[in-house]
């Protein structure tokens, strides 16, 4: 084990000193001020270029991936104005149903597109319209995190991750719906559900995934080319899996958190939600890298060439993985689900005393069983496909103390962080937290001793993952949303199949893999090679009018864009505790 070198040490200390020298700031008074109290100093975007790719004969420019659209723009076969107009037309027509956006910048986006078309110096993402999660600061554009706390707040600088995308030429199309303060699937602050899953836009029973719900729906429905999200407990990978997207949750520190409203200090991770692995690589290339304004991003291994990682490789005339890959399979990944009981259990009325106690009881319905069965079948095919691409599939055991250290109780160690971040608001008026209040209160009840022990346990968990798993394999399957979030390890999520039985219309099935610290390139290699020989990622959900007969539940079936309305079903405290990140 080597020592941290002097250069890295000095970089980190310089950044920490700079942070300490900033004017005192809390989230308490952000909404009442628009002034920046944090300098927007950051490392310049590293130059990169996107590959030229085949452009499919798309009927609609909005159907193009980021890299396809960028190719068409460079060749002059498409203008940025045409691309932005195509997205805006879809938003105008469909977002009343999807409710993916809570703010759309029609005129500003078109103005930016006109400037991109007129400019001779183009960034790699010039003219690409993106949807940005509403907890990213966007200069001059309201940033609310769907919370009463930030109603009316307009920052005057850009979050570093968005600023890098902007510097690469991307266009801010709009801000997306999210769980209040990045907790659950998207709702209003009082818990009324908003965003729907693009694959089942008329069904309240099919989750869009959260908390980056709007970011996922915007991309899956072709209202934006790609989007950004944040993940503290599954909030990029879950909506990506739910909506057939490729999402990357990078390692802690790989993408700066500066200018992103925090849910925790130690588990928040910004990353992209994209249509495929190549787009995810393009987005992450722009977003990643050191940022003096975020000490967590300094002193880390150099950012790998993600675009090289997704470049196609053939061996013996057939698609192959770029490098030899040992693929670990954890217990349970291929286990058949337990059939549901012959007599359906009576509906349980939630017991108020159960709230916050533990993970919810397993869903034993026929619907869940069918979906779980289809998932296991898709996983078997996935592993066979990856073997054909050259992966060495290896069964691995859970690391030592896995069930204890990844349990609901140890996951709760994150809660005091959110309580501290928002303490002034809790002291001011707890009603500002709407339906999300409970975990904030619970976080105030853990002592420093438990918090410190939880932090010590995280290092033990990481060591056991590294020694017991990553000494044997390069990437490993995942079946739970948050263990790798607890220790900051990278994840990729991508579609591995579809099933149509549980909801009456095709729904994506997702797979998720994790890797060692800062090995996002390994994950992208795997996803890109898999997507060369499969087409799940190319499938697109039908527009809402074509799905009108599927899952129709009655009310709230129409509306105009920007009119964020209740869907008649509310998340309550039970849902928040059980689904929240």
């Amino acid at each position: 084990m080597g020592e941290v070198n002097r250069r890295q040490f000095l970089e980190r200390m310089t950044a920490l000193s700079a942070t300490a020298a900033m004017a005192p700031q809390t989230l308490a008074n952000l909404p009442s001020r628009s002034g920046s109290r944090v300098g927007a100093r950051r490392t310049a975007l590293r130059p990169f270029s996107l590959p030229d790719v085949h452009i499919p004969q798309a009927a609609d420019p909005a159907d193009l991936t980021v890299v396809e659209a960028a190719t068409a723009l460079r060749r002059g076969e498409l203008s940025a104005v045409e691309l932005v107009e195509a997205c805006l037309e879809r938003i105008e027509r469909w977002d009343g149903q999807y409710q993916a956006f809570n703010l759309v910048r029609e005129e500003a986006a078109l103005e930016h597109a006109r400037a991109a078309d007129a400019s001779s110096s183009r960034g790699p993402l010039a003219g690409i319209p993106l949807a940005i999660k509403d907890n990213y600061f966007t200069a001059g554009v309201p940033t609310t995190a769907n919370s009463f706390i930030f109603e009316g707040f307009t920052p005057d600088f850009d979050a570093t991750a968005w600023a890098r995308l902007r510097d690469a030429g991307a266009i801010l199309l709009g801000k997306t719906q999210m769980g209040p303060l990045a907790t659950t699937a998207a709702t209003t602050p009082t818990g009324e559900r908003t965003t729907v899953n693009a694959w089942a836009p008329h069904s309240d029973d099919v989750s869009p995934g959260g908390s980056s719900s709007g970011s996922a729906t915007a991309v899956a429905s072709r209202m934006a080319a790609s989007s950004t999200g944040t993940q503290t407990g599954g909030s990029i990978t879950n909506p990506s899996n739910a909506q057939g997207l490729t999402g990357i949750k990078p390692t802690m520190g790989r993408v700066s958190l500066h200018g992103i409203l925090p849910l925790t200090y130690t588990r928040d991770h910004p990353g992209p939600l994209a249509r495929d692995a190549v787009d995810a690589a393009a987005m992450l290339t722009a977003m990643a890298g050191p940022d003096p304004a975020d000490p967590r991003s300094l002193g880390l291994p150099a950012v790998p060439d993600y675009l090289a990682a997704v470049r196609p490789v053939d061996r013996a005339g057939a698609p192959a993985l770029r490098r030899p890959l040992r693929l670990g399979v954890l217990p349970g990944f291929l286990d058949d689900p337990e059939p549901p009981p012959e007599t359906p259990p009576e509906d349980e009325t939630p017991d108020a005393d159960r709230v916050g106690s533990a993970l919810p009881p397993p869903d034993r319905s026929q619907t869940r069983y069918r979906r779980d069965l289809a998932t296991v079948r898709a996983r078997r095919v996935l592993l066979r496909t990856l073997e054909e691409l050259g992966a060495d599939v290896i069964e691995v055991e859970f690391p030592a103390d896995w069930s204890t250290l990844t349990s609901f109780n140890f996951n709760n160690v994150r809660l005091p962080e959110r309580s501290e971040i928002f303490l002034e608001h809790l002291r001011d008026d707890v009603r500002k937290f709407g339906v999300s209040l409970s975990p904030w209160i619970n976080g105030l009840l853990l002592s420093g001793a438990e918090y410190v022990r939880g932090q010590r346990a995280r290092l033990i968990l990481l060591r056991s993952i590294l020694e017991d798993v990553f000494s044997r394999v390069d990437v490993v399957t995942q079946t739970a949303p948050f263990p790798f979030d607890m220790v900051g390890l990278p994840l990729v999520a991508f579609p591995i199949g579809f099933e149509a039985e549980s909801a009456g219309s095709p729904l994506p099935i997702g797979g998720t893999f994790g890797a060692e610290p800062y090995a996002e390139d390994r994950l992208l290699e795997l996803a890109a090679a898999y997507q060369r020989v499969t087409d799940w990622h190319r499938r697109q959900p039908a527009d809402p009018d074509a799905l009108r007969d599927v899952g129709e539940t009655g009310d709230n079936r129409s509306g105009s864009r920007g009119d964020v309305r209740s869907r008649g079903r509310r998340l309550d405290l039970f849902d928040v505790m059980e689904q929240g990140q």
Partner: protein, 94 residues
């Protein structure tokens, strides 16, 4: 160096504490921090949050999480607290 291990619980069992005892702890703790739950409705199912449900959630949280963490005994000379484990690993393996 001794390895960390899960230990059996010692002392009082949190699950045996009465609602009244836990309510007193919760209220005292929130008062110490200046957080006031009485601005919420006492018991209103349609409200986004009410005192009854928030207190019930807090009681259940206290009956499970602190004891589970305390039960995971660690060697005092074992690993120091690390809030960014992936980064610490990277900083030491460059």
């Amino acid at each position: 160096m001794p390895e960390p291990h899960a230990a059996s619980s010692g002392g009082a069992q949190a699950v045996d504490l009465t609602d009244e005892e836990l309510d007193a702890y919760i209220s005292t703790r929130l008062t110490l921090l200046g957080v006031d739950l009485t601005v919420l409705p006492e018991d209103e199912e349609d409200a986004p949050a009410d005192q009854r449900r928030i207190m019930a959630s807090a009681r259940r949280f206290l009956r499970s999480t602190p004891a589970a963490i305390a039960d995971y005994a660690l060697d005092p000379l074992g690993p120091p607290p690390t809030i960014y484990p992936a980064e610490v690993h990277a900083w030491n393996h460059e």
